[in-house]
Amino acid sequence: MVALARGERSAFQPVFATLWPLLRQFCRRALLDDALAEDAAQAALTKLFLHATDFQPDGDVVAWAVGIAAYECRSLRNRRIRRAEEPHPPELAAVAVGQASPEEMAIHANLGAALLEVVQGLRPRDRETLEQVLSATPGPGRDATFRKRLQRALERLRAAWRLTHGSDD
Protein backbone atom coordinates (compact mmCIF):
# COMPACT_ATOMS: atom_id res chain seq x y z
CA MET A 1 0.00 0.00 0.00
CA VAL A 2 2.90 2.32 0.78
CA ALA A 3 4.35 1.63 -2.67
CA LEU A 4 0.96 2.22 -4.29
CA ALA A 5 0.61 5.49 -2.41
CA ARG A 6 3.95 6.58 -3.88
CA GLY A 7 2.78 5.78 -7.40
CA GLU A 8 4.02 2.22 -8.02
CA ARG A 9 1.32 0.84 -10.32
CA SER A 10 2.76 -2.67 -10.00
CA ALA A 11 1.50 -2.72 -6.40
CA PHE A 12 -2.12 -2.29 -7.50
CA GLN A 13 -2.96 -5.95 -8.16
CA PRO A 14 -1.53 -7.33 -4.89
CA VAL A 15 -3.30 -4.62 -2.89
CA PHE A 16 -6.58 -5.36 -4.66
CA ALA A 17 -6.21 -9.13 -4.20
CA THR A 18 -5.52 -8.68 -0.47
CA LEU A 19 -8.09 -6.05 0.43
CA TRP A 20 -11.12 -7.09 -1.64
CA PRO A 21 -11.85 -10.40 0.21
CA LEU A 22 -11.12 -8.72 3.53
CA LEU A 23 -13.57 -5.88 2.90
CA ARG A 24 -16.25 -8.20 1.54
CA GLN A 25 -16.02 -10.43 4.59
CA PHE A 26 -16.10 -7.47 6.95
CA CYS A 27 -19.17 -5.97 5.26
CA ARG A 28 -21.01 -9.31 5.29
CA ARG A 29 -20.45 -9.64 9.00
CA ALA A 30 -21.42 -6.04 9.66
CA LEU A 31 -24.61 -5.98 7.55
CA LEU A 32 -25.78 -9.63 7.55
CA ASP A 33 -27.12 -9.06 4.04
CA ASP A 34 -25.09 -10.35 1.09
CA ALA A 35 -26.39 -7.92 -1.55
CA LEU A 36 -26.01 -4.87 0.68
CA ALA A 37 -22.59 -6.09 1.87
CA GLU A 38 -21.42 -6.44 -1.74
CA ASP A 39 -22.48 -2.85 -2.44
CA ALA A 40 -20.77 -1.56 0.69
CA ALA A 41 -17.55 -3.47 0.01
CA GLN A 42 -17.39 -2.21 -3.58
CA ALA A 43 -18.01 1.36 -2.52
CA ALA A 44 -15.37 1.05 0.21
CA LEU A 45 -12.80 -0.41 -2.18
CA THR A 46 -13.23 2.27 -4.84
CA LYS A 47 -13.08 4.98 -2.18
CA LEU A 48 -9.95 3.40 -0.75
CA PHE A 49 -8.23 3.50 -4.15
CA LEU A 50 -9.37 7.07 -4.73
CA HIS A 51 -7.62 8.11 -1.52
CA ALA A 52 -4.71 5.64 -1.80
CA THR A 53 -2.28 8.49 -2.49
CA ASP A 54 -3.11 10.03 0.90
CA PHE A 55 -2.13 6.85 2.77
CA GLN A 56 0.60 7.56 5.33
CA PRO A 57 3.63 5.21 5.29
CA ASP A 58 3.41 4.64 9.06
CA GLY A 59 -0.32 3.84 8.91
CA ASP A 60 -2.01 0.48 9.40
CA VAL A 61 -3.50 -0.60 6.05
CA VAL A 62 -6.05 -3.03 7.48
CA ALA A 63 -7.30 -0.55 10.09
CA TRP A 64 -7.56 2.13 7.42
CA ALA A 65 -9.42 -0.12 4.98
CA VAL A 66 -11.78 -1.45 7.66
CA GLY A 67 -12.44 2.11 8.82
CA ILE A 68 -13.57 3.08 5.32
CA ALA A 69 -15.66 -0.10 5.03
CA ALA A 70 -17.32 0.53 8.40
CA TYR A 71 -18.25 4.03 7.32
CA GLU A 72 -19.72 2.70 4.05
CA CYS A 73 -21.70 0.04 5.93
CA ARG A 74 -23.14 2.64 8.28
CA SER A 75 -23.98 5.01 5.41
CA LEU A 76 -25.70 2.30 3.38
CA ARG A 77 -27.69 1.09 6.38
CA ASN A 78 -28.81 4.62 7.23
CA ARG A 79 -29.69 5.38 3.62
CA ARG A 80 -31.75 2.23 3.44
CA ILE A 81 -33.63 3.14 6.60
CA ARG A 82 -34.27 6.69 5.36
CA ARG A 83 -35.58 5.65 1.98
CA ALA A 84 -37.56 2.76 3.47
CA GLU A 85 -36.17 0.48 0.80
CA GLU A 86 -38.04 -2.54 2.26
CA PRO A 87 -40.17 -4.03 -0.55
CA HIS A 88 -43.93 -3.28 -0.25
CA PRO A 89 -46.41 -6.17 0.27
CA PRO A 90 -47.55 -7.58 -3.10
CA GLU A 91 -51.24 -6.76 -2.37
CA LEU A 92 -50.44 -3.04 -2.32
CA ALA A 93 -48.65 -3.30 -5.63
CA ALA A 94 -51.89 -4.64 -7.15
CA VAL A 95 -53.90 -1.52 -6.18
CA ALA A 96 -54.39 0.61 -9.26
CA VAL A 97 -53.82 4.34 -9.10
CA GLY A 98 -57.23 6.15 -8.87
CA GLN A 99 -59.00 3.13 -7.44
CA ALA A 100 -60.77 3.68 -4.10
CA SER A 101 -58.66 2.84 -1.09
CA PRO A 102 -59.79 0.07 1.28
CA GLU A 103 -60.74 2.78 3.80
CA GLU A 104 -62.98 4.58 1.31
CA MET A 105 -64.59 1.31 0.30
CA ALA A 106 -65.36 0.48 3.96
CA ILE A 107 -66.94 3.95 4.49
CA HIS A 108 -69.14 3.52 1.42
CA ALA A 109 -70.23 0.06 2.55
CA ASN A 110 -71.18 1.38 6.01
CA LEU A 111 -73.15 4.29 4.56
CA GLY A 112 -74.94 1.96 2.14
CA ALA A 113 -75.95 -0.37 4.97
CA ALA A 114 -77.20 2.57 7.10
CA LEU A 115 -79.20 3.96 4.17
CA LEU A 116 -80.73 0.56 3.47
CA GLU A 117 -81.75 0.29 7.11
CA VAL A 118 -83.48 3.69 7.00
CA VAL A 119 -85.16 2.88 3.67
CA GLN A 120 -86.52 -0.35 5.17
CA GLY A 121 -88.30 1.77 7.79
CA LEU A 122 -90.20 3.81 5.15
CA ARG A 123 -93.68 3.11 3.90
CA PRO A 124 -93.87 0.43 1.15
CA ARG A 125 -95.11 2.98 -1.41
CA ASP A 126 -92.14 5.29 -0.74
CA ARG A 127 -89.74 2.33 -0.85
CA GLU A 128 -91.14 1.29 -4.19
CA THR A 129 -90.74 4.83 -5.59
CA LEU A 130 -87.11 5.07 -4.44
CA GLU A 131 -86.31 1.60 -5.78
CA GLN A 132 -87.71 2.62 -9.17
CA VAL A 133 -85.40 5.64 -9.25
CA LEU A 134 -82.33 3.74 -8.05
CA SER A 135 -82.84 0.85 -10.42
CA ALA A 136 -83.35 3.38 -13.25
CA THR A 137 -86.14 1.32 -14.69
CA PRO A 138 -88.70 3.37 -16.64
CA GLY A 139 -91.63 2.22 -14.46
CA PRO A 140 -95.19 3.26 -15.01
CA GLY A 141 -95.84 6.96 -15.40
CA ARG A 142 -92.84 9.22 -14.64
CA ASP A 143 -95.07 12.19 -14.87
CA ALA A 144 -95.90 15.02 -12.50
CA THR A 145 -97.65 12.62 -10.12
CA PHE A 146 -94.57 10.39 -9.94
CA ARG A 147 -92.27 13.38 -9.36
CA LYS A 148 -94.52 14.55 -6.55
CA ARG A 149 -94.47 11.04 -5.06
CA LEU A 150 -90.67 10.93 -5.32
CA GLN A 151 -90.34 14.33 -3.66
CA ARG A 152 -92.46 13.18 -0.74
CA ALA A 153 -90.53 9.90 -0.46
CA LEU A 154 -87.20 11.78 -0.35
CA GLU A 155 -88.53 14.18 2.29
CA ARG A 156 -89.57 11.23 4.44
CA LEU A 157 -86.22 9.55 3.85
CA ARG A 158 -84.37 12.70 5.00
CA ALA A 159 -86.59 12.97 8.04
CA ALA A 160 -86.00 9.31 8.92
CA TRP A 161 -82.22 9.73 8.37
CA ARG A 162 -82.17 12.79 10.65
CA LEU A 163 -84.12 10.86 13.25
CA THR A 164 -81.70 7.92 13.16
CA HIS A 165 -78.30 9.54 12.46
CA GLY A 166 -78.75 13.23 13.25
CA SER A 167 -78.18 16.10 10.77
CA ASP A 168 -77.56 15.14 7.12
CA ASP A 169 -75.46 18.26 6.41
Binding site: L4, A5, R6, G7, E8, F12, F16, W20, A35, E38, D39, Q42, A43, L45, T46, K47, F49, L50, H51, A52, T53, D54
Partner: protein
Protein backbone atom coordinates in the same frame (compact mmCIF):
# COMPACT_ATOMS: atom_id res chain seq x y z
CA UNK B 1 -23.87 1.36 -6.59
CA UNK B 2 -24.88 -1.40 -9.00
CA UNK B 3 -23.21 -4.76 -8.35
CA UNK B 4 -20.15 -5.32 -10.56
CA UNK B 5 -18.18 -8.30 -11.72
CA UNK B 6 -14.69 -8.60 -10.29
CA UNK B 7 -13.13 -7.54 -13.61
CA UNK B 8 -15.30 -4.42 -13.73
CA UNK B 9 -14.44 -3.71 -10.11
CA UNK B 10 -10.70 -3.95 -10.88
CA UNK B 11 -11.10 -1.50 -13.76
CA UNK B 12 -13.18 0.90 -11.69
CA UNK B 13 -10.74 0.71 -8.78
CA UNK B 14 -7.84 1.40 -11.12
CA UNK B 15 -9.67 4.36 -12.60
CA UNK B 16 -10.40 5.72 -9.13
CA UNK B 17 -6.75 5.30 -8.21
CA UNK B 18 -5.66 7.30 -11.26
CA UNK B 19 -8.23 9.99 -10.41
CA UNK B 20 -6.84 10.15 -6.89
CA UNK B 21 -3.32 10.52 -8.23
CA UNK B 22 -4.44 13.26 -10.63
CA UNK B 23 -6.01 15.12 -7.73
CA UNK B 24 -2.83 14.73 -5.72
CA UNK B 25 -0.64 15.78 -8.67
CA UNK B 26 -2.70 18.92 -9.21
CA UNK B 27 -1.20 20.31 -5.99
CA UNK B 28 1.94 21.08 -7.98
CA UNK B 29 -0.10 23.79 -9.73
CA UNK B 30 -0.11 25.70 -6.43
CA UNK B 31 3.64 26.12 -6.93
CA UNK B 32 3.71 26.60 -10.69
CA UNK B 33 0.79 28.94 -11.33
CA UNK B 34 1.95 31.71 -8.94
CA UNK B 35 5.33 31.53 -10.65
CA UNK B 36 3.72 32.15 -14.04
CA UNK B 37 1.61 34.99 -12.64
CA UNK B 38 4.79 36.50 -11.14
CA UNK B 39 6.52 36.19 -14.52
CA UNK B 40 3.73 38.16 -16.17
CA UNK B 41 3.67 40.76 -13.38
CA UNK B 42 7.37 41.48 -13.77
CA UNK B 43 6.83 42.07 -17.44
CA UNK B 44 7.90 38.88 -19.20
CA UNK B 45 6.28 38.54 -22.65
CA UNK B 46 2.91 36.79 -22.66
CA UNK B 47 3.91 34.42 -25.48
CA UNK B 48 7.02 33.31 -23.59
CA UNK B 49 5.08 32.77 -20.35
CA UNK B 50 2.29 30.89 -22.12
CA UNK B 51 4.64 28.62 -24.10
CA UNK B 52 7.22 27.89 -21.41
CA UNK B 53 4.62 27.97 -18.64
CA UNK B 54 2.37 25.61 -20.57
CA UNK B 55 5.20 23.14 -21.04
CA UNK B 56 6.22 23.50 -17.39
CA UNK B 57 2.68 22.97 -16.06
CA UNK B 58 2.01 20.02 -18.37
CA UNK B 59 5.33 18.37 -17.56
CA UNK B 60 5.00 19.07 -13.83
CA UNK B 61 1.47 17.66 -13.63
CA UNK B 62 2.20 14.62 -15.80
CA UNK B 63 5.34 13.49 -13.99
CA UNK B 64 3.82 14.22 -10.57
CA UNK B 65 0.92 11.96 -11.47
CA UNK B 66 3.38 9.29 -12.55
CA UNK B 67 5.27 8.97 -9.26
CA UNK B 68 6.03 10.82 -6.04
CA UNK B 69 9.74 10.99 -6.80
CA UNK B 70 9.04 13.05 -9.93
CA UNK B 71 6.79 15.37 -7.96
CA UNK B 72 9.76 15.92 -5.63
CA UNK B 73 11.99 16.47 -8.67
CA UNK B 74 9.62 19.13 -10.00
CA UNK B 75 9.52 20.94 -6.64
CA UNK B 76 13.31 20.85 -6.33
CA UNK B 77 13.70 21.93 -9.95
CA UNK B 78 11.40 24.92 -9.51
CA UNK B 79 13.09 25.99 -6.27
CA UNK B 80 16.54 25.65 -7.84
CA UNK B 81 15.42 27.58 -10.89
CA UNK B 82 13.95 30.55 -9.02
CA UNK B 83 17.34 32.34 -8.48
CA UNK B 84 18.15 31.89 -12.15
CA UNK B 85 14.66 33.20 -12.94
CA UNK B 86 15.02 36.32 -10.79
CA UNK B 87 18.70 37.29 -10.90
CA UNK B 88 18.99 38.41 -14.54
CA UNK B 89 15.70 40.26 -14.23
CA UNK B 90 16.89 42.09 -11.11
CA UNK B 91 20.16 43.01 -12.76
CA UNK B 92 18.35 44.32 -15.83
CA UNK B 93 15.51 46.13 -14.12
CA UNK B 94 17.54 47.64 -11.27
CA UNK B 95 20.44 48.35 -13.61
CA UNK B 96 22.88 46.91 -11.07
CA UNK B 97 25.64 46.22 -13.57
CA UNK B 98 26.36 48.21 -16.71
CA UNK B 99 26.99 46.57 -20.06
CA UNK B 100 30.63 45.48 -20.21
CA UNK B 101 33.06 45.19 -23.05
CA UNK B 102 35.41 42.25 -23.44
CA UNK B 103 37.85 42.25 -26.35
CA UNK B 104 35.75 44.77 -28.21
CA UNK B 105 32.49 42.87 -27.74
CA UNK B 106 29.65 44.25 -25.63
CA UNK B 107 28.68 41.69 -22.97
CA UNK B 108 25.34 41.81 -21.25
CA UNK B 109 25.89 41.22 -17.48
CA UNK B 110 22.74 39.11 -17.49
CA UNK B 111 24.58 36.36 -19.39
CA UNK B 112 27.17 35.65 -16.66
CA UNK B 113 24.42 36.09 -14.07
CA UNK B 114 22.42 33.41 -15.85
CA UNK B 115 25.47 31.18 -15.99
CA UNK B 116 26.22 31.59 -12.27
CA UNK B 117 22.63 31.03 -11.18
CA UNK B 118 22.58 27.99 -13.50
CA UNK B 119 25.66 26.61 -11.74
CA UNK B 120 23.93 26.99 -8.37
CA UNK B 121 20.75 25.34 -9.67
CA UNK B 122 22.69 22.45 -11.22
CA UNK B 123 24.58 21.87 -7.99
CA UNK B 124 21.41 21.86 -5.84
CA UNK B 125 19.54 19.53 -8.20
CA UNK B 126 22.45 17.09 -8.47
CA UNK B 127 23.06 17.04 -4.71
CA UNK B 128 19.41 16.13 -4.23
CA UNK B 129 19.45 13.56 -7.06
CA UNK B 130 22.24 11.45 -5.58
CA UNK B 131 20.06 10.73 -2.52
CA UNK B 132 17.37 9.24 -4.75
CA UNK B 133 16.97 5.62 -5.78
CA UNK B 134 16.39 6.47 -9.46
CA UNK B 135 19.02 9.19 -9.83
CA UNK B 136 19.03 9.67 -13.59
CA UNK B 137 15.30 10.05 -14.09
CA UNK B 138 15.05 12.29 -11.03
CA UNK B 139 17.92 14.44 -12.28
CA UNK B 140 16.48 14.65 -15.81
CA UNK B 141 13.06 15.81 -14.56
CA UNK B 142 14.56 18.27 -12.07
CA UNK B 143 16.95 19.76 -14.64
CA UNK B 144 14.16 20.09 -17.22
CA UNK B 145 12.01 21.90 -14.66
CA UNK B 146 14.92 24.14 -13.63
CA UNK B 147 15.66 24.98 -17.25
CA UNK B 148 12.04 25.88 -18.00
CA UNK B 149 11.67 27.96 -14.83
CA UNK B 150 14.96 29.77 -15.29
CA UNK B 151 14.44 30.38 -19.01
CA UNK B 152 11.49 32.65 -18.27
CA UNK B 153 13.95 34.98 -16.48
CA UNK B 154 17.22 34.33 -18.33
CA UNK B 155 15.64 35.06 -21.69
CA UNK B 156 15.81 38.73 -20.73
CA UNK B 157 19.37 38.44 -22.04
CA UNK B 158 18.15 36.64 -25.18
CA UNK B 159 19.38 33.25 -26.36
CA UNK B 160 22.75 33.93 -24.72
CA UNK B 161 21.14 34.07 -21.31
CA UNK B 162 19.35 30.76 -21.83
CA UNK B 163 22.48 29.08 -23.18
CA UNK B 164 24.50 30.51 -20.28
CA UNK B 165 22.01 29.15 -17.80
CA UNK B 166 22.02 25.68 -19.40
CA UNK B 167 25.80 25.66 -19.45
CA UNK B 168 25.73 26.67 -15.78
CA UNK B 169 23.36 23.83 -14.87
CA UNK B 170 25.62 21.32 -16.61
CA UNK B 171 28.72 22.83 -15.00
CA UNK B 172 27.07 22.80 -11.57
CA UNK B 173 25.90 19.22 -11.96
CA UNK B 174 29.13 17.79 -13.31
CA UNK B 175 31.22 17.75 -10.11
CA UNK B 176 28.44 16.15 -8.08
CA UNK B 177 27.66 13.58 -10.75
CA UNK B 178 31.34 12.72 -11.25
CA UNK B 179 31.89 12.40 -7.52
CA UNK B 180 28.88 10.10 -7.14
CA UNK B 181 30.13 8.01 -10.07
CA UNK B 182 33.61 7.62 -8.59
CA UNK B 183 32.15 6.68 -5.20
CA UNK B 184 30.03 3.95 -6.80
CA UNK B 185 33.03 2.50 -8.68
Amino acid sequence: MAPMTEGALVRRSRWMYELGRARWASRILLVLLPLLVAARLIGRPAVLVVVLGGILVTLGFAVSMLHDRYARAVRIGVLAGIPAFLLPLLIRSLDLLPLGEIAGTIVDPCVPASFLSGVAAGWVVSRRAIDEEYQRSFWAVAVATTALTASMGCSVAGGGGVLGMIAGVIAGSAPVVLRAATQRS
